[in-house]
Symmetry: C2
Subunit: 488 residues, 2 copies
Amino acid sequence: MNGNGLAPDTRTHLIRAFERIVGPEGVISSPDELRVYDCDALTFFHRCPPDVVVLPTSTSQVAEIVRRCYEFGVPFLPRGAGTGLSGGATPRAGGVMIVLTRMTRILDLDLANRMATVEAGCVNLWLTKAVECHGLFYAPDPASQAACTIGGNVAENAGGPHCLKYGVTTNHVLGATVVLPDGEVVRLGGKVSDSPGCDLLGVFTGAEGTLGICTEVTVRLLPQPEAVKTILAIFRTIEDACSAVSGVIARGIIPVAMEMLDRETITAVEANVKAGYPLDAGAVLLIELDGPRGEIEAEAVGVEAVCREQGCLDVRVAQTEEERALLWKGRKEAAGSFGRIAHHYYLQDAVVPRTKLAQVLREIEEIGARYRVKIANVAHAGDGNVHPMICVDRDVPGCEERAIQAGSEIMRRCIELGGTVTGEHGIGLEKREYLRLMYSPADLAVMHRVRGVFDPAGLCNPGKIFPDEDGPAGAEHSARHASAVSAG
Amino acid sequence: MNGNGLAPDTRTHLIRAFERIVGPEGVISSPDELRVYDCDALTFFHRCPPDVVVLPTSTSQVAEIVRRCYEFGVPFLPRGAGTGLSGGATPRAGGVMIVLTRMTRILDLDLANRMATVEAGCVNLWLTKAVECHGLFYAPDPASQAACTIGGNVAENAGGPHCLKYGVTTNHVLGATVVLPDGEVVRLGGKVSDSPGCDLLGVFTGAEGTLGICTEVTVRLLPQPEAVKTILAIFRTIEDACSAVSGVIARGIIPVAMEMLDRETITAVEANVKAGYPLDAGAVLLIELDGPRGEIEAEAVGVEAVCREQGCLDVRVAQTEEERALLWKGRKEAAGSFGRIAHHYYLQDAVVPRTKLAQVLREIEEIGARYRVKIANVAHAGDGNVHPMICVDRDVPGCEERAIQAGSEIMRRCIELGGTVTGEHGIGLEKREYLRLMYSPADLAVMHRVRGVFDPAGLCNPGKIFPDEDGPAGAEHSARHASAVSAG
């Protein structure tokens, strides 16, 4: 599949125009090179290369590129590092892809007001590296933080383990320079925390690139904590671990992170990373506290007491920075480790109220058994954000379909339990149909009309988020397709 | 001035219809009684009673009332306690006022997930009172918290002294039941923190009742801190106090509150409350820390060190709950105390980046001198949120006009310094024209199109926020009018 059938003349004309704007080295148009851009980190369901890729180096270049697309009625979409997990940076049906990875500068460090302004292609971790000598850091830390861009984080409203205490991307974005879908450049938000009128910055953040292209972002920086303490709590069962999660919060302690790994994941991690997670545990919690030394010492005592009340087998505190790094390496490479065993797996993302965590994890296990697929779980447990990893053996006929069906059933249960179908990965191409389960037609119509305000022509990353836009795609469609196949 | 000239037949028909919906005791239609509703706490610039007031007791009643208005093309607006300071709950030109003060119930306390669902008319402080026995509190604490409603807080995205650490209303709202301007009922957000798709809850919060009427709100509850410490730091000059504010934050300490009162305000407070603020100080800072006891002891040492580095005259720590309450009484009654001296004053609200605080306060003093009006200042200094109180002597010809002009010039300077024209009071009727200084026509057009998505007929609280909607009103208009008068 290639593109949306752009007329060859239009394509040639656009390529020439883009070369004039960004120089020939900033335009990619050969089929082989375009293949690289046919999906993001969601490799299931749908692949489609763009008709042309452009790599601008400034906001004004982005605006010029968008204006050309607008004039020709050609769809376009932004892309950062392509680490997204719901297809947000995968073309629905070709068009122009605007890749922001050449816009990587830190434009302004305002240390007194604790803010930084960066170009959208600045890698998340680079910002923290650039400000750590000033005793500061940028809080949102998605697992892909060494690769993903801050512009992409804004598009997806990215989270990460440390968002339990610090909040997700939208809580740290103060302003954004945005190229609207007609090429107009606007500035949303500002350097102070309250902007009167409609909260357009809030709407834009997490809109998955459907409202325009963010080219510069002003974010809040936080002071590094005085001390950090990382605890591994070992449990016989997932239920005990979940009770400890609620217990810690109920005691008034908000850890920076409270991550859960189940037995399947522990096995995979130990086979790969050797993080020191015990193989006979039913689940482990990785709990991190930060703040003034005295405070976290007291909190650590509280955390241990709660874990023991919930019948934990052991509580270990990292004694050195090396031990701490190793515990985190286990968590951060959990998905990769599972991938080594499973070869292929379908990484899901959903949220339930924290008190429903044990129930949903038990049901996920039952769903796995029913569809005969192995499911491992990691969870940002403090947030109720589960990440089931559904094993797919592509050599076994029907396995992929069963995995997708299992994923779909998990989504439905999370909604029924009062949760949502994404905590941080977004809707993208993958989860559009599930929105019908969460929102009434009236709710969805209002949202889609908001999209129309920014993009009346429907050219900016079309076919994402909204189930009725541009035909079905994604997991729900594939699941229904799979049912039809297996029924036939 | 009365109403928008509703045809008598229409008015009579609506009153009958409303009486059938809410009962006769829930409808107010006599001119004398309607006078009570001709303005909110912004008593300047514009007064206009509604044509009829309705007091519903349920979401479905609100929806029925709104449907009647929609059918007849009659404008309507919501109102809570009427404590707003920018005219958000004042009719622009009559119509139907829907007052939510009979919808006061706490519908659900979900202690395990630390959430409460309340009706929109629930008074802010009642919620904290209702949950304090469970060791919880509701964080946003506007000065009017003993009277204002949570629905009104959502409309205005209300702040308060303690928002420095805890954030404003939008950071605590998880979901809302909203009657759209055509009478349809939607639920925005949910019980988990991430809702996929457009962040409609974020847009709704702070939209000043122009997108629909919120009838139920789900909010986050926080655990009460283990300990609280309240410090009064006394400074020779405003500049020293402002340097201390930046210095505390730069040291990595985020107090719950960091309030500044200048000499004029101190004088007024001491004449009224006798809070123990020294009359010879140039400014005082009221700094509150909360958290684990050990942590705040350490932070208090840090705060005192910073204040002494900035040349403070004295640092006093409240030793008892009575002393603490008295220090806060001084701050909370500052505006009222100034009112006792000034009889009339114009309370302004603007924000600058924290590092510009000293500069803007110096300029406010100069502006006061130039326009020959006395200006006292209180500030949520940690947020850069200034509240100049401009004295108005209505017996002196031209004084009111000069006060408005001075206010207008303060707004312009705050914008030029990178700030905004409201930190928490909203735009309402008062500040519509200033938005033109902050936003491009394209920015404003996008915002207004978002309003159109929710309210295509333009019936829901019309004439607020947007400068081009329904003719000029408010401070900027009055200031220009005053100029014209004085020039003539």
